[in-house]
């Protein structure tokens, strides 16, 4: 036992009994112990400093006022500017205001920006705004009436209280928010967010991340389409009869093809691919682990929650939301939602819209969104 305890104290066993060498060895051992203690202590030093003089002791920030609002950027920019100008009805001219930092605001009754001009202050037009071709502005633009943006203009962001028309190849770095209707010209880039209280019409080649409109529609739009009403809710069985998922949903392991005339009395969960054939109608919500394909003319009256890719074929329609962890492609004539019935299309990696497509509500992708482009574009 003595030998073992000596070992614990980092002393050779011989040191316990060898009298003459004990002092030197004890000193060495003490030195080792001190070094050991210091090395143990070292990792705690930064922590001790943080305890003594805290630099990071506050709770993680939680935005208690956060609510999902697709027009948040435009609304908050308007509110900030209104607060900074405090109802300023003075003559046109330059003001200095404090927003998130001190900024210059140029106030106009009507703004006409010549082609190729370069603006570096916030522009507020009380009347119409016309921005010439290839003009650039690296601060926000705010038009209290309509706005017309010329071809190839490069803007940071645009808020407009009237109707807006964007020419070909307009590039918006951050956001677009319009109280009326919007026409977006071909090959334009809408930045992080584009929203309109009216319709938001996109020409070919437009790229985007988030869209909001009533509806969001693409070139060649041929009018809204009447969809059948939602089916009566699934009549839940008596609580005591519910044992597992299959009591509340129709579960299919593997791929499933739904043809015309097939009906379902409860939601569908498909652990494979799901294809809804031409003119077939699925009147329930679907959860699909593989890909979901709606053939031309097919109709889905519920929502679609999909782990794989979604293709809504030509003239097909979804009454509910479309949510994909991969990609969503809406082909010519496809419809999502209905007038007055706000729904969403979310495709994590991409959303591709063809011509004559309408989404009544919201479109979002974390990846690439575009109109009539190929995945390789």
């Amino acid at each position: 036992m003595t030998r073992r305890l000596a070992g614990l104290a980092l002393l050779p066993a011989t040191a316990v009994t060898a009298g003459a060498a004990t002092h030197a060895l004890t000193f060495e051992a003490a030195l080792l112990l001190v070094a050991f203690g210091l090395l143990i202590l070292v990792p705690f030093v930064p922590g001790l400093i943080e305890v003594w003089r805290p630099r990071d002791r506050y709770p993680l920030p939680v935005d208690m006022d956060y609510v999902k609002d697709p027009r948040y950027l435009g609304r908050s920019a308007r509110a900030l500017l209104a607060a900074a100008l405090r109802g300023d009805q003075g003559p046109p001219g330059r003001r200095t205001v404090t927003l998130s930092k001190v900024e210059a605001v140029e106030v106009h009754d009507r703004l006409d920006v010549s082609a190729g001009a370069n603006l570096s202050a916030i522009q507020l037009a009380r009347g119409p705004m016309v921005v010439g071709d290839r003009a650039t502005c690296d601060r926000d633009l705010y038009a209290r009436a309509g706005a017309r943006i010329g071809d190839g203009a490069v803007l940071r962001s645009l808020a407009c209280d009237g109707r807006a028309a964007l020419g070909r190849g307009v590039n918006i770095a951050r956001w677009l928010d319009v109280e009326g209707d919007v026409h977006v010209g071909p090959q334009s880039d809408l930045g992080a967010s584009a929203a309109a209280a009216g319709f938001l019409e996109l020409a070919d080649g437009v790229t985007f991340e988030r869209l909001w409109g009533s509806p969001v529609r693409t070139t060649g739009f041929r009018g809204t389409r009447e969809l059948p009403p939602a089916p009566a809710p699934f009549a839940l069985p008596d609580v005591l009869e519910i044992r597992n998922l299959e009591d509340l949903a129709s579960l299919h392991r593997g791929d499933l093809v739904v043809g015309p005339g097939e009906t379902f009395d409860r939601p569908l969960v498909v652990r494979g691919d799901l294809r809804i054939e031409t003119d077939a109608v699925v009147d329930r919500t679907v959860k699909v682990y593989g890909d979901l394909t709606l053939a031309p003319g097919a109709l889905l009256l519920g929502d679609a929650f999909v782990e794989g890719a979604v293709v809504v074929g030509e003239g097909a329609a979804v009454r509910g939301c479309v949510f994909s962890q991969r990609s969503v492609e809406l082909r010519r004539g496809a419809r999502v939602g209905a007038p007055g019935l706000v729904k969403s299309v979310v495709g994590k990696r991409s959303v591709t819209l063809a011509g004559d497509v309408a989404v009544h509500g919201y479109v979002l992708t974390d990846g690439r969104g575009c109109v009539t482009c190929r995945a390789s574009d």
């Binding site: 073992r4 400093i49 959860k287």
Partner: protein, 420 residues
């Protein structure tokens, strides 16, 4: 023979630690560089489900008003909302506060309980019988939800496979002392990395009993919450997964909570969790393995989650085992190279992995200086080893003596004054 058993047990403990270390790494790497699955918060939908918000309260006069006002501030169609604060045998002014608020707000419909068993499972069971909605959202009495929380939680039930949803809790009283700061780090690791990674990897995110919700009919069909279980949230998680439903995690749905400010209160809390969780382990171990709805990955993750409160028990007994072998002069377990590998693996991964996970969580949360406190978690883990083992022993007692009910130990509140 005894020595052989002790040696084999040491190897078993090292193996268990290596498995859990690998799990920690898998989750952390996923959060750093892996594919991140979306939650449903980005869906905007005109058709939302009707919801009942349940808030169990026992002697909560310090926090009741503030909590209900926070829920009232939430944006959700009023015609689809009811709030049911459950006055669970309160002896303070909780009942008066609830009645006064109900008089001012139609959506608040208090449920007063003065009879029957006290405790969260029993309170929820009574409330489930009076709730009018299909979707139940639960907040603890000290929680302060953000304005978008109800919508962001409820939207997930549009997915027909979702049985429950869980949001993220964020400690609000981190400034109080070192313990609250350590709990803040632990929560970050648990939610920002652990829960989100399990959501990403199609594994088993856990319903945590608050800042979350579930389908009313499912809970009722399971016979309500088991009143013998102190971890009714874990119990529901396993019942759902075993029967084919999913639990989804909503990292963006954040809610402030108050964490214990004294080591004694924290010890009691974690002992209760350990007791409840280990009881659930005994209850669902077989069902998990037999479930026809779960993938192999889900079963493995479910198994590791189910036995997670056993790990400190293994670690404590493994340490005692090692000490015994040391004094018996029997530390030569197998060839030294293998011993070296085991020890090196454990020191590199077993000890380090949780810290790596928590450090990564802090990085993802965008905070920096608090990472300096990571080494102090060692002391916290040492405390956990003992308290969790204690809870495990209590769960064993519950199991073998087949206790009909467990005494609910309410976590002490530290808030000084309720907001007027």
């Amino acid at each position: 023979m005894v020595v052989l058993i002790l040696k084999l047990y040491v190897l078993l403990v090292v193996l268990i630690m290596a498995i859990y270390a690998t799990r920690h790494y898998r989750f952390t790497v996923n959060r750093l560089v892996g594919d991140q699955r979306l939650y449903y918060q980005d869906l905007i939908d005109a058709e939302l489900p009707r919801i009942s918000v349940l808030v169990p309260m026992h002697d909560e006069e310090k926090v009741a008003r503030q909590s209900l006002e926070a829920i009232l501030r939430c944006e959700y169609p009023r015609e689809l909302l009811e709030i049911i604060p459950i006055n669970d045998h309160s002896r303070d002014g909780t009942a008066a506060i609830l009645d006064e608020m109900a008089a001012r707000h139609d959506v608040i419909k208090p449920l007063h309980r003065h009879e029957g068993q006290r405790g969260k499972p029993a309170a929820l069971n009574d409330a489930l019988l009076v709730a009018a909605a299909d979707v139940i959202i639960v907040f603890d009495a000290d929680y302060l939800p953000a304005r978008g929380s109800l919508r962001d939680l409820a939207i997930s039930f549009k997915d027909p496979e979702v049985g429950a949803v869980m949001g993220r809790v964020v400690p609000v009283n981190t400034r109080a002392n070192l313990l609250t700061r350590l709990l803040d780090l632990e929560r970050s690791g648990g939610y920002q990395v652990d829960q989100q990674a399990r959501h990403n990897l199609h594994l088993m995110p856990q319903y945590g009993g608050t800042v979350g919700g579930f389908r009313r009919d499912l809970a009722l069909s399971f016979g309500g919450f088991d009143q013998r279980v102190l971890a009714e949230d874990t119990d529901l998680t396993y019942r759902l997964f075993i029967n084919g439903w999913k639990v989804v995690y909503a990292n963006r749905v954040e809610c402030f909570e108050e964490v214990p400010e004294t080591w004694e209160v924290r010890s009691r809390q974690i002992r209760r969790w350990s007791r409840g969780h280990n009881y659930v382990m005994f209850k669902h171990f077989g069902g998990l393995l037999r479930s026809p709805y779960l993938t192999r990955a889900e079963k493995l993750d479910g198994l590791l989650l189910l036995t997670i409160y056993l790990v400190p028990v293994f670690l404590l007994t493994g340490i005692l085992d090692s000490v015994a072998l040391f004094f018996m002069g029997e530390m030569q377990i197998i060839d030294s190279v293998l011993v070296f590998l085991f020890v090196a693996t454990y020191n590199s991964f077993g000890n380090f992995a949780p810290f790596y996970q928590i450090g990564t969580a802090s990085l993802l949360d965008g905070v920096t200086h608090r990472i300096r406190l990571l080494p102090f978690l060692m002391f916290y883990f040492l405390l956990n080893i003992w308290t969790i083992t204690h809870g495990f022993l209590q769960a064993l007692g519950d199991r073998f003596w087949r206790r009909k009910r467990a005494e609910w130990d309410k976590t002490k509140r530290f808030r000084k004054e309720a907001a007027a």
